[in-house]
Amino acid sequence: SQTIHQWPATLVQPVGSPLSLECTVEGTSNPNLYWYRQAAGRGLQLLFYSVGIGQISSEVPQNLSASRPQDRQFILSSKKLLLSDSGFYLCAWSEGAGNTEAFFGQGTRLTVV
């Protein structure tokens, strides 16, 4: 069966520090991968998605970047965090062209102080 792992679960970082959130998927090949952000009291905002190694599409211009160094690994990064980067970050995967449901990781609560 397929599983998705996302870590860390909680992170407190000072303004201006770097960020690296990691997500890995097991039990499937060539998944579509996604990073979403959920601000307090709001829905999920798509940040990045990837349909293959090295292929990243950005939905929203921002202080963040994403990379996919391996087929089932998706990393969310920042060189210098801003206060506005605080939020709940969710990694997800889906099969094929994406016309199927997405499966989510446990999420990372990021607080920038």
Binding site: R42, G43, L46, A92, A97, G98, T100, E101, F104, G107
Partner: protein, 113 residues
């Protein structure tokens, strides 16, 4: 841009009663999928039900069913025999692009004893 609208920020229902959550969406695609996700206090996103747009029959999963009105672009979720464990945020989502889900802002459902 594709949009998903949930017009009820908060709802409550008594245990064992039935509640309906509303969702409307905007798409120019002929083939797309619609979903309802549940996010309990643990913040894990859980798929509740899915509907393929080309299927006229409304999807059903145990106590959960949808009322899919394609012409009206409406996709409501009915929860029958509500249980305390149904307390959660509920998100409506669509995949018009074929790659990523677009989410509504969510409806917070409280089930009371």
């Amino acid at each position: 841009a594709q949009t998903v609208t949930q017009s009820q920020p908060e709802m409550s229902v008594q245990e064992a009663e039935t509640v309906t959550l509303s969702c409307t969406y905007d798409t120019s695609e002929n083939n797309y999928y619609l979903f309802w996700y549940k996010q309990p206090p643990s913040r894990q996103m859980i798929l509740v039900i899915r509907q393929e747009a080309y299927k006229q029959q409304n999807a059903t999963e145990n106590r959960f069913s949808v009322n899919f009105q394609k012409a009206a672009k409406s996709f409501s979720l009915k929860i029958s025999d509500s249980q305390l464990g149904d307390t959660a945020m509920y998100f409506c989502a669509s995949t018009p692009s074929g790659y990523a889900l677009n989410f509504g802002k969510g409806t917070s459902l409280l089930v009371t004893p």
